[in-house]
Symmetry: C2
Subunit: 304 residues, 2 copies
């Protein structure tokens, strides 16, 4: 699992800071999460191949999280993309994009599929053989979802030598990887765990931006390996957090602790602060494993 | 008159090149012309004060000319702008911006005034004491206008000594500056030109992007001091120009020559070319005074 931070500052793009966008690589998927203005240039700087992005998840319709989307869709068209593109985001996102395509008389030559969200309950919105994606309903000034990305367990690992010694026919190896006990050539039932070991542990990533402190999300993200949680403010501006429906670093850490997250990534910093170190210090008072995001940073998360 | 090139490349923003946007300073106005994605960051890099921009002119609704607009409007709001903002552009531009404001539940706290255009004739769309702005109907794949910015002549310059010697009462000086002949203290009619000299010559700027070769614009921009004309292609791709409704460098130069322009600025280059020099060389075969635009360049045009 690998995460590239294209932008992690709030409000407006500036000369040296970008608004929210991330790329999550998970089991050969390349998920783009939020798409602030300038995201396509950030993708180029990160040398991320545009064609590998097949799913884009937009948290909410504030500009610093999606003003780069229509430009990216348009650039995909100019680059003669052929692969389908799935867009997940709040109801209304389709109208915004298609209105601009209509007025530009520029329809995509690839299939653009919108998945508009309006539920206030966590939903499974994408699933294939190896990954599941769920919404995380957040509490912001407009309808907002975070997203939980979960690897599915792979097959059990077969110990071929042990299987041979147990005199199991090769035809049953697939069944063994799927976890079944099988009967060997001598008619004896062989316990699966004697010839296989558990699959690689799965990894999970939760993206939570933007939101006021919301404990309701804890059961949804329980035991997540990596939690990105917005931390717009420091304690000295804690009064602004509920007013603007954002969180402080300490609140982000409290959610991480209650959810028993493996680690916490902070981002969505207000540009009023000169240094980011205080975000880490304040979060660490509550939760130990805190890392600061910054534009251009890439995290590789080793399997457990 | 001063022109800052924020971006002058076609199609898509890249790591080192920006799509179309310019700032024209004329008689204390700061006109923003087109607004590709990333324009607000380019404005910051040029240290242009956001509040000085009161008029934005959008040529057409292709993304490389306006995908930065909604972000700029939104940033103006976050910066607690109070001054009115006038947007000139094709019909539909208001719907695009207001739909996004509605879905973000983020209305501006300043007055946003749209001037939607749909005429195929050149129109006077802005006028005050010192400047006039006209549309230049262009020929592109969607409805497109260039813009002609013209300084108005100032007052005549009064030679105070000559006026005193001609025994003219001070009360008439204003009339003299306005060009009238006046009667002096001895009852004699004094010829205005004896005591005044002509006002500063006026300057004019024409912005023409995007367009196929279109001679109809020549009478509109006749004798313009500075002509920006798109030159997407070189001669070796001349066949693509009419197909995509763009121009070659040579066609841009032909328009400049026929219009008797003072100088020609080239821009809107296709990103397929490694070097820009060939654009200048090909244009110079037709018209002598050719300058290449590039992102970050600023031109100061001396009065005549």
């Amino acid at each position: 699992m690998k995460l590239s931070i294209l932008g992690c500052y709030s409000a407006t793009p500036r000369a040296l800071t970008n608004t929210t966008s991330q790329v999550l690589e998970m089991n050969n998927h390349m998920f783009l999460i939020d798409c602030g203005e300038g995201t396509q240039v950030q993708l180029r700087k990160h040398k991320i191949k545009f064609n590998r992005i097949k799913h884009i998840f937009i948290s909410h319709l504030h500009g610093d999280h999606f003003f780069g989307l229509v430009g990216l869709i348009s650039t995909f068209r100019l680059l003669t993309r052929e692969a389908d593109l799935h867009i997940y985001g709040p109801k209304g996102i389709k109208e915004i994009v298609t209105l601009q395509m209509k007025l530009a008389d520029s329809w995509t030559n690839y299939k653009l599929i919108f998945h508009e969200l309006s539920s206030n309950e966590s939903q499974l919105i994408f699933e294939d053989d190896s990954v599941e994606v769920y919404t995380i309903p957040l509490d912001h000034r407009v309808y907002t979802n975070g997203y939980l990305f979960k690897e599915k367990p792979g097959e059990r690992k077969l110990d071929v030598k042990a299987a041979e010694q147990a005199n199991i026919n090769v035809a049953y190896y697939r069944k063994l990887k799927q976890g079944f006990d099988v009967v060997n050539e001598d008619g004896v039932l062989i316990d699966n765990e004697k010839v296989t070991s558990p699959p690689e542990p799965t990894m999970s990533y939760a993206f939570c931006s933007d939101t006021a402190y919301k404990e309701d999300i804890v059961p949804i993200i329980k035991n997540v390996d990596v939690l990105y949680h917005e931390s717009t403010f420091l304690e000295k501006h804690a009064d602004l957090a509920p007013k603007t429906k954002h969180s402080t670093a300490k609140q982000a850490a409290t959610i991480a602790k209650k959810a028993n997250a493996g680690m916490l990534l902070l981002g969505h910093y207000s540009t009023r602060y000169d240094s980011l170190e205080a975000f880490k210090e304040e979060a660490r008072e509550v939760f130990e494993f805190v890392t600061l995001c910054d534009d251009g940073k890439t995290f590789e998360f080793p399997s457990k």
